[in-house]
Each structure stands twice: as C-alpha cells, then as structure tokens.
C-alpha cells in the first residue's frame, strides 16, 4: 500500500444529481477571481479580465462571476458548485491562457475532485444481465436426462488430428501434380 491511499480519499464514481439522464446542467455556479491591481504576480489575471472575461461570461450565462481586487495578495480563483463544493486555485504568475484553461476545467467539472481518488472507473446498477456462468450454461438440455456414466458421451472422439489432415492434403497434392505432369 502506497502513501497515495492515505493522502487521497478513496471513492467510487457516482452521479447523485442524475445529471445527463435528461439534459445536462453545468454544475459550476459561482466564480470569484481575486487579484492585485499592481503586483506583477497577478498580471496574467489582469490581462484575462481585460481581454477575455467578457467573452467567457457571455458564453457561460449560467455562471456568476465576481471580481475581487485586493492589495498585495496573489491571484486566486474560487469556484462554487451546485453540490456545495468549493474549490480554490492559486494563480500566482499564471498567464492569461493558463487561467482560461483552468476556468474551462472548473466549468466542465461536477465538483471538487482534487482530494479524491477513484477506486473504479466504471459504475453500474446492473452488474450482470445473463447471470453468472456455470458449467451447465449453454449445454444441451438432453444432458439433464442422461444417466452417467454414458458410453456414447465418454468415448474418444474420432476426429483426425490437424497434423494428420495436413499430411493427407500433402499426399493428395502430390498425386495431383503427378497426374497433371503426365
């Protein structure tokens, strides 16, 4: 057992809100972009706000975006989801593109997944439809009525082996070629 299992909380994949069964609902509700107006470490964040934020907010009308300028602190993104999760991302010295990439990730997530580790990558309510295999599945039902030991079933099969068959084919070919050469 590695230490990974101690750090990350194990969980199974699930979809408690049944999202996507009917229509898909974006689970991200609120975004708070925190930044400093003059510190260099939030330069990328300021650029993003000046150039791309309006487009982002317009194309995602379901998400509320707050801006929170604060002096001499690093840039931070806080995201709030429908299920109550709150995710915090440190954006110190991030570029404009990096911030957009993280925002897109937050937008497409269902909740905060950073602290959890999936034990399985598949979830099903119906594990088997045809039932488990037993030695009697796909056998002829006539076997139910036979009394064992039965001679006709237990005798050796009379099939020729593959080697023998090949040898026979070879012999046949030999005969053929002899016949055409004449």
């Amino acid at each position: 057992m590695s230490n990974t299992s101690l750090i990350f909380k194990p969980s199974f994949i699930r979809n408690p809100s049944q999202n996507g069964l009917g229509r898909y609902v974006c689970q991200l509700q609120r975004l708070v972009l925190k930044f400093c107006k003059n510190n260099g470490s939030s330069r990328g964040m300021r650029e993003f706000i000046e150039e791309d934020l309006i487009d982002f907010a317009k194309s995602n009308s379901g998400i509320v975006v707050y801006l929170k300028p604060r002096r001499h602190r690093t840039a931070v993104i806080t995201a709030e989801y429908l299920n109550g999760d709150k995710q915090w991302i440190n954006c110190r010295n991030f570029t404009k593109v990096e911030i957009l990439k993280w925002l897109n990730l937050l937008k497409t997530q269902q909740g905060d997944t950073t602290g959890t580790r999936f034990l399985k990558l598949q979830h099903t309510e119906i594990p088997s439809i045809q039932g488990p295999w037993t030695p009697y599945t796909f056998r002829p039902p006539s076997l139910n009525l036979t009394n064992f030991p039965e001679e006709s079933i237990s005798k050796l099969s009379e099939k020729t082996s593959a080697t023998k068959e090949l040898l026979e084919l070879y012999e046949q070919q030999k005969m053929k070629s002899k016949g055409t050469n004449l």
Binding site: R14, N15, H123
Partner: protein, 197 residues
C-alpha cells in the same frame, strides 16, 4: 494441354451455379499459364447446405426480433478511446486520456463489438452490423485525475527525480442501448452521410 482443360472446364462451367466463388478470375487467367496446379483456391458449392442453414438462421433471427420488441435491458461491449467497456443503460464510465468531446455533448458510441440481452448475444467480428444498435451517451464531466507521483531513485548513485502528473478524464453517462436497424439486413455500404468527419 488437354489435361489442363480437363481440370479447368468443369470448374468454369460450375461458376454461375456456385454460391461462394473466391477469386474466380484467377482460374480464368490460368488458361494461359502452364503451371501444373491451377490455384489453391477452391470453388465450394454450399447450395445443398444452404437451405438447411437459412432455415436455422431465419428461426434464430425471428426469435431475436421477438425478444428485441419486448424492450428488455440490453448490454453491449463498446470500444471507446482504445479501451473496451461492457455497458448497459444507466451506467457511468470514465475514459482516461485526451478525448475531444466536451461536457454536455450527446454522442453515440458506434464501435459496438457485442450486444446482448438475457436470451441472446450478438458477437461482432470485430464489430456488429453497421447501424443495428444505437448506444447513446452524454458527457457529464471533463476533469483530471488525482495527482499521481512518478518517483525514480537509484541507490548510491545520487540520482533522484520526482514528477507529478494528472490524467485528463471524461465521465460518460450511458443513456440507453436500443435496436434501430433490422437484424440480418444491413444498409447499403454506399451510404456515408452520417459518417463524415
């Protein structure tokens, strides 16, 4: 030369009657060659067996069509992004690695390798008949995995590296699996309107 004709002629005559003719043109070309053996291809006449087989097959197809009409739960094995998943309606699967579909997209999984219900299973070679089954799915999450550690160390060599990485993950909700086509009656190959990239 006469012996060659003796070999060829019955085969040529049987051409229109034969059911499974594999590369008949080869035997025609062989008229001009002097090779002793004609080809290793054989013309197999399955006509005698065919009626029996067709009867057997049509009965199976009829039974499957009956069970399909009852709208019972189907399962399928689909090939998605290099991996195979056994799925039924209502399942959730996670696809690892870069995969373009975005959250909220409704997609159909077209590489169906097997489909089955309680009474039957149709096994593809490797895929089942084109447009027979529709597997509908919705992308519900695009996320990244937990942080994984890649740690290398060589003892007594002053060598130690540590890397952290996260794998992109896509969560898919399987909406339903249903029969849309007709069994044993595939559509024309020429129709390519729904397969344009």
């Amino acid at each position: 030369m006469a012996s060659i004709f003796k070999n060829i002629l019955p085969k040529l005559i049987s051409l229109p009657r034969a059911q499974f003719v594999r590369k008949p043109y080869i035997s025609q070309f062989c008229l001009y060659s002097t090779a002793p053996s004609l080809t290793h291809y054989e013309i197999v006449d399955h006509k005698a067996d065919d009626e029996k087989r067709n009867l057997f097959k049509s009965e199976i197809v009829r039974k499957i069509n009956e069970t399909v009409q009852n709208k019972k739960q189907l399962f399928a094995v689909v090939h998605v992004a290099g991996k195979q998943f056994k799925i039924t309606g209502g399942d959730i699967i996670v696809i690892e690695g870069y995969w373009p579909p975005d959250a909220g997209d409704k997609i159909t999984l077209d590489k169906v390798m097997l489909v089955g219900a309680r009474e039957f299973s149709l096994i593809g070679r490797p895929l089942i008949q084109n447009d027979l089954v529709k597997v509908e799915a919705t992308v519900i999450e695009k996320s990244v995995s937990h942080t994984k550690t890649h740690f290398r160390k060589k003892r007594r060599k002053q060598y130690q590296r540590i890397n952290f990485y996260r794998i992109p993950r896509t969560m898919l909700q399987i909406n339903n699996i249903k029969f849309v086509g007709e069994l044993d009656n595939p559509p024309d190959v020429t129709e390519a309107k729904n397969r344009q990239m």
